[in-house]
Amino acid sequence: MMNDGISARLARSLEVMEQRLNRDINDDMHCRFFRVYRREAAVYFVDGMVSADFLQHYLLTPCLAHAGDALPGEEAASLEALSPLLDTARADTYQDAIRKMMNGHAVVMMDGMPCAVCFDVRAYVRRGVSQPLTESVVSGPHQGFNESIRDNITLIRRILPTPQLISEMRVIGEGCPVSLCLMYLRDAVDPASLDRLKSRLDSLHVDHVLSIGALEQLLEDSPWALLPQCCLTERPDRAASFLREGQMVLVLDGAPQILCMPVSILHLIHTPDDTSLRWQYGTFLRLIRLLGAAVTLLLPGLFVAAVIFHPELLPVTLLTAILESQAAVPLSIPMEMLLMLLMFNLIGEAATRVPGVVGSSLGTVSGLILGQAAVEAKLVHPLLIIVVAVASLGSYAVPDYSLGLACRIAQLLFLAVASVFGLYGMVLCLGATAIRLCGMRSLGSPFAAPLSPDRTHNPDVFLRAPLWRQRLRAWLANPRRMERITGPMRGFDRRRK
């Protein structure tokens, strides 16, 4: 039985633990024997996951100091009293004890005690708080999450120091459990969304959740959709912003990013800079990003459609130049475009996989050399290189990595449609895509809201209005707590009531 209770006989407990921990072949599962309160005792821990100093100074030394003393009271309470500085927890079953041990606790078993006392002496190797790698900003904090769930929760709590910030710890995964923390602002979150997320978490039956991306795939509404329906961030300030808007975040142990739900398509386009910078600059940058996304999605298809089906859209000189140089190129324009787009994606992927400085150099050199060589070898048209370069550049302006990838895949789809059906096919495809996007949901909330359907919202959609006009939480928040603040935000400013 996996859930059998811990025996009061130490010998029996040792036998079970030895067997379940596979100690005969598992070299980093350690056990030390000692005497405390005139009884035999044993402590189990995993090498490398506990602090040897903590174990020695705060647990073993006090125990040995009371080796000959009589038991002052109840066994577990007496043991806990020996180390007042350490967090303790009791485990009544072997399974609980082993789970605690695997999380870095030292598990103490004592003869005559029908439970185990787990001392928190965790100290494993972890990365420090460093700059976010994929979400750089010009203005705003430069802290990023690391792989420790405790550090990540602390980083968020430092930004939102309020008891209304709830962090519910959970364990996910049946074979190899992982710690998961569900965080939300109690007075802002929509209770219906919270219940929905909890019920989805409760209904998960997985062996192990390896990463936050895997958790995202398990929780999202439309697994077949191209667009992501959750937002991943490695910035504590962004996580705090989501929480203030009434959304929920999931912090997974071992993941340097947190998962935010529910979100809308707008959350995938906005960045922290939009809010940190003055509203004029934020609006400008946001429009540039939207332009980048549109260019990525449509430009290759538009070029192909214009050259093949709608030459009247191009100036005569340009069209002549394209057709003249096209005569010397062995491939058709759609095939050229496809080839170059795949080449740029290849360069991008290769540059991502090779380390730091080498990666950026590789990208630049490959782009320059390959582009130049392809033109000189008359494999592709020079104008086409410009189109592909601009389209690829646009995809890097999309702040969300998943959305950027979705745009690059959809770009190929639009190219295929434009190659066969021209601009009209593209328009149909665009319309169908927009409708599909509007029909999507994130944790049950419309994915394209507040654009469609209409929802009450701040003037912070495509254009970002001044902060003092943004008085509402997101439309995803608790309807009872839509307002962040009442009364004038700039109390000194008599012109704006």
Partner: protein, 358 residues
């Protein structure tokens, strides 16, 4: 600038959300209605009446406006939310079934007509690669992709501003090319042609009836007729102002008639306008399939998820028929079926007491 906002109670928030959903549904029906009116005006009425179209198209709407008024009257008298419910109260269960089947048939016929226009516009007018069947299959695939329960209405709600902006831009450019003598002769090519145009276009306004069945975004507000009617009047006037009577009444195939309104626009704007027209037709076909499915099932109060897709497939299947015969058949159906609907509306409106047992 105002810096204070209303405090939303939960009820108020819920009301605002419902209002947003209703507004999206209203825009969906309005778009379908506008596309249906424009399609009939451009392909049926204007080629017959020529320069008289600027006043004849609005005149042809009058029976439709009367039907809309009758529908509103019936709904008010019966206190029902939908025409089917009103028919059940006024004419009994059989009446409700006939009413819903009739509405579904009208919607499907209209969807097939829009589909025919779309496919013909693609294959014969614009001249992209692909046969009639290929284009019908492409459109069907796109429809199946986007026939979500709420997605279609929300998508149309999202796209209304870009579409209106593009239409307004094209209209503004057309206005610069307008000539007052485009409105002459006021009676078009002659009395006989005018009579034929009135006969063909008399049932054009029936889609306005469905606007009566959509819940208004705000209770007590007039159901908005203005956008579809306004768009039709503006478009008819612009087409007449830009094109001489001889061009409008020249014998032409369906595809040419569809492309006529944008004939004199600059190339880029013409291409964009054609794209807009095709997108609008596509949305109208999808809407017809969705609304048709709703009406088919309304007497039973059920929802079958696959039915809109099946009806879309049925609409697409009509493209296996020869275009000219299909178009004539659909035009005839769309002329006479609304008369049955009008008859039912008159019966429902004249009924003094609700049916017993209802």
């Amino acid at each position: 600038m105002r810096t204070t906002t209303l405090v939303h109670s939960p009820e108020e928030s819920l009301r605002l959300r419902l209002m947003g959903d209703r507004r999206a549904r209203m825009h969906q029906v309005q778009l379908w209605c506008a596309v249906s009116l424009l399609r009939t005006a451009i392909t049926v009425v204007l080629p017959m009446c020529g320069s008289a179209g600027w006043w004849l198209a609005p005149v042809c709407l009058l029976p439709g406006l009367v039907m809309y008024g009758l529908a509103c009257l019936t709904l008010r008298r019966t206190g029902a939310a939908t025409l089917t419910e009103a028919a059940r109260i006024a004419l009994g269960r059989t009446g409700a079934v006939i009413q819903s089947v009739l509405l579904a048939l009208l919607l499907l016929t209209d969807g097939a007509a829009s589909m025919t226009a779309l496919v013909t516009g693609f294959t014969e007018g614009i001249g992209t690669e692909g046969t009639q069947i290929t284009m019908a299959l492409l459109t069907l695939l796109a429809m199946l992709f986007c026939l979500h329960r709420d997605g279609l209405a929300w998508g149309i709600h999202l796209m209304r501003w870009p579409m209106l902006a593009l239409a307004a831009g094209a209209g503004a450019v057309m206005l610069t090319m307008a000539r007052a003598d485009g409105l002459h002769p006021v009676l078009g090519p002659g009395d006989d042609a005018l009579t034929a145009a009135i006969r063909a276009g008399i049932a054009m306004g029936w889609p306005l009836t469905l606007l009566a069945t959509v819940e208004p975004a705000r209770p007590g507000r007039l159901r908005p007729l203005l956008p579809p009617v306004g768009i039709l009047c503006a478009a008819a006037a612009l087409v007449c102002l830009v094109n001489p009577c001889e061009v409008l009444t020249r014998p032409a195939a369906l595809a040419e008639r569809l492309l006529l309104p944008a004939l004199y626009l600059p190339p880029a704007l013409r291409t964009l306008t054609h794209s807009l027209g095709m997108l609008a037709l596509f949305l109208a076909v999808a809407t017809a399939a969705q609304l048709g499915a709703g009406h088919v099932l309304s007497p039973w109060g059920r929802e079958v998820v696959w039915l809109p897709g099946a009806l879309a497939a049925a609409i697409a299947a009509t493209q296996c028929l020869p275009i000219s015969g299909l178009w004539q058949g659909l035009s005839a159906l769309l002329t006479w079926l609304p008369a049955v609907l009008a008859l039912m509306l008159i019966l429902m409106a004249c009924r003094r007491k609700p049916c017993s047992g209802e």
